[in-house]
Amino acid sequence: MSKILVIAEHQCGQLNASTARTVSAARAVQPEAVEVLVLSDAPDAVAADAAKLEGVSRVLTVARAENAHPLAAILAPQIAKAAAGYSHVFLPSTTFGKDVAPRAAALLGVAQVSELMGVESAHTFTRPMYAGNAIVTVEADPAQTVVATVRTASWPAAGQAAGSAPVEALALEATLPTHTRFVELRQARSDRPDLQSARKVVSGGRGVGSKENFDIIYKLADKLGAAVGASRAAVDAGYCPNEMQVGQTGKIIAPELYMAIGISGAIQHLTGIKDAGTIVAINKDAEAPIFEVADLGLVGDLFKIIPELEQALG
């Protein structure tokens, strides 16, 4: 029987939404137990949230000052130690999980499955390759611990359980390196919904033309209560910060509504939105590849259409 350890992702004392999605993937393996490990300097609040996730049978915490920031070199040795007794170790395929999981897998001497999107059996999974242009069935060695990152856009968030799973402190003997030090996290504070979990996303591309012009994307998003995304070209050109990039090398998202405005629809961008419910494309070029995947397409100048849209929205 399988027993799965999910590594919680958290920030500022809050459980990240990616963890609940990772728990869903773990439950799809139909294991005997899904347990969550919280590595933090102050794990209590995060652990309490994780304990309320449906399907979680136990939450383990390791409180160490070194865990104040998610540094892979610090976390991986603890995860490798904690993995004993588990058949699977799952992390979300966010920059957190992508950074940590391979390091933990290598310490365990095992392969790692990236971007797990489907579960066929306890050791058979599907995952994307080639920017999502091939879906590969992967068989892991049943004799080894399966370390995987979970493609969060492929999984719903686990619901809230009626009660709370027990929370226990875990004693780990792990010597931690001092060669890696956190300096700072620079983030643009925003009251807008989080791009990775938002139900609606409005994205702008190179067609928006400038940082100043990008305001019309923010305004439309605010009107819709949507998160804001961008193409790589828009980020590279400095119209908006890097954390807004959607695509193969940015965020992979699955909102109910995705609006691509002034975005051509390059394969690397489309990889990030394949699981969106409804895709709307606004582009002045009727031949733009984005229209091949759009559920609703509108050809025209975005600077004319967006004000009209806002008006029609009332």
Partner: protein, 248 residues
Amino acid sequence: MKILVGYKRVVDYNVRIQVKPDGSGVVTDGVKLSANPFDDIALEEALRLHESGVADEVVIAGIGPANLGAHLRNGLGMGADRAIHVVSEEAVQPLTAARVFLKLIEKEQPGLVILGKQAIDDDSGQTGQMLAALWDRPQATFASKLEIADGKAKVTREVDAGLEVIEVDLPAVVTTDLRLNEPRFIKLTGIMKAKSKPLETMELASLGVESGDHLKNTHYAPPPKRSKGVMVKDAAELVAALKQKGLL
């Protein structure tokens, strides 16, 4: 300081990937192959560190079949000083690649290793982190800025929340993100010079590396197709359609 750069060859990013009808893989015959874009960025960064005097030698290494030499010559043409070709007819998985690189590190003793954050064929994104673990050295993944001074690297990393800055002691493994730099084009003079630069080949089997290819890729399928949508004629029609879908 010597810099070791991973230089993988992959299907060019512009190619529309076709899955073989029998599901045994993707079509690679006659398909354009190029340097992994993240590896060009890794090489560019190493070359800049060389030009600014931080590094004194840039060595590129690739794992691949006998004909990988031409690809490595391109890297030499871009400006690398030396190339190492680890010959393997079969593609290797990240854990094996990391073990191979560890062998090269033991031999070359670099002060910095730069790899791409992912290769755009298998999109695994693991080798750098695995290598850092096996080497027991720091890792700085998804780098968009790299500053080196006093035996340390200050690295700005593109993370989901924004930009994270960390400091690591050298030697370390850095993996590149797209915004670290814009790789230069290979000049004709570079190609001419590359012909006389050293390119060492060694058989993978000769390195005594235990295979970490524990995953079996048993079947390839094309992704589910999204059905073609409809065109609307103006903003009002778009709003009406969204309302009808219950999205507004």
